[in-house]
Symmetry: C2
Subunit: 297 residues, 2 copies
């Protein structure tokens, strides 16, 4: 089994490290705050002090970092990481770098180009499913890059979830944006519909129950709809991050002259919600913004 | 078992009549075009020439008609049905009228008031699930009215699907509008997201596959998303009817001073789609309107 180097042992990276170790992959870990990597010592993984040291003998490198700027710095160096400690220059020729972070498609394409220039291979493979999906190994994994590289990555990705190759470099990140667009808009649909029914005198909990299993059925109606009818907006996914995702989608759309009128409308609503103090609530708190507009909250 | 009179034996009414007969309810049928009722002769149902004759000995009357104007005329008479042939005046005292047509909440409340005035009971109980759901007896049934009337209707409704009592008179129609809002908006979400991914170079069929089972999962992604990636816009549910549903939702929202910005935005998009010749395609043809906006169709 190929030696894997995992860069980033945060909320998502840590359970992914456990899945990879359990699948039998020899593992090397690096994390900016080393204690988070050390906490995975019981898996038998080796922990290093720099990305460069972590990737030196890896056949496959997996990155799971906060955003595109961090990925760039960890791979290519930057203000907080000297180039000598960064990962890319230390790669063995032919190493496959799988970036599972959620970053912009244009950043993913740029990273792929630079890695190819160093003789490495690259996939962008962001995930959906959160920490529960990472722990259970059931992540939805959207992969962009060369088909041969995807086949090479498959055993690694299948230890983490359900990978699908969706197109060339950057496509995985595009699919992730599509995912976030659908999630953000569907939350708006459920919020506006349940609130209208409630405003007209129906019981929104009963309306949600009545709609389950029909064409309005969705994971959002099931999970976020329940939060709305219970008025439970404790943060699981934050509204601020949903807003950031929609802005990334709109930025990407603008860059290819693509009109996205629905995402645009929802972007405005989530921005208004953030302005009115709901940014650090759950993303389903868009319901509260719609309540506020009716003078109800 | 109570004798049921079913008014309306169209695409939905006919399979519902078969379900009620199969459940053992003695059944009387009426349909404006009598041949459609006669076609159900093999169920043992009696067929009558007027709504008044159909309801005369019924304990429960079920209406399944095209829209609110038709329901009003069949119950209370109008230009194409003399009052002497209409149903309401011929009801036995205490008869329960269950209107399963999709009509406006304000119409449902008006009909309930008029029926109460005649000593009858009333429920509005529109459905979701289409002809397949009617045949299989798996309709989602959203019921508005008195709790006692709902309990009385339950054995009848359970022969047809999964009934939920969502609130007072008109609430069933509100829930149906909520259902149609969620369906119409989610179709927009899936269309815009898949098209953005395709525009950026990803394979939309693969993106749809990758997203299945995550938080973007919905019946719409499953069913209408598949139509979009296959470019198969043959009509099952028409875009014109989706547009009418959203307009009914906006009309209802306006009537209670309710802001529905997302439904508003989608109403504009479906109207544009209808203007551009997609009205008699499947509602998933909103995808074609979004393509058109990008200069792609």
């Amino acid at each position: 089994m190929p030696r894997i180097s995992l860069l980033g042992c945060g909320l998502m990276g840590a359970p992914m490290a456990r899945r990879l170790a359990a699948a039998g992959f020899p593992l090397t870990l690096w994390n900016r705050t080393r204690t988070k990597a050390d906490a995975l010592n019981d898996t038998g993984a080796r922990v290093t002090d720099t990305p460069a040291a972590a990737v030196a003998d890896a056949e496959v490198v997996v990155t799971m970092l906060e955003h595109g700027g961090v990925v760039r710095e960890v791979l290519f160096g930057g203000t907080s990481l000297p180039p000598g400690q960064a990962g890319a220059a230390a790669l063995q020729p032919g190493t496959l770098v799988i970036d599972m972070s959620s970053i912009l498609p244009e950043q993913a394409r740029d990273h792929a180009r630079r890695l190819h220039g160093l003789g490495a291979h690259a996939l962008d493979a962001p995930v959906s499913g959160g920490t529960l999906g990472a722990e259970a190994g059931t992540l939805a994994i959207m992969a962009g890059g060369e088909a041969a590289d995807f086949e090479r990555a498959r055993p690694v990705l299948e230890a983490l979830g359900r990978p699908v190759h969706v197109g060339p470099a950057g496509s995985g990140q595009l699919a992730k944006l599509a995912n976030q667009m659908i999630v953000g808009i569907t939350i708006g649909a459920v919020a506006e519909a349940l609130l209208l029914a409630e405003r007209g005198g129906a019981d929104p909990a009963k309306v949600r129950e009545a709609l389950r299993g029909g064409f309005a059925e969705s994971r959002i109606l099931e999970v976020h709809g329940q939060r709305m009818v219970q008025g439970d907006f404790a943060k699981r996914g934050s509204l601020a991050i949903q807003l950031k995702d929609l802005r990334n989608a709109l930025h990407t759309a603008a860059g290819m002259d693509f009109q996205a009128p629905i995402t645009q409308a929802l972007g405005t609503l989530y921005a208004d919600a953030a302005d009115h103090g709901f940014a650090e609530l759950d993303q389903s708190a868009l319901f509260k913004e719609l309540q506020r507009r009716q003078g109800l909250a």
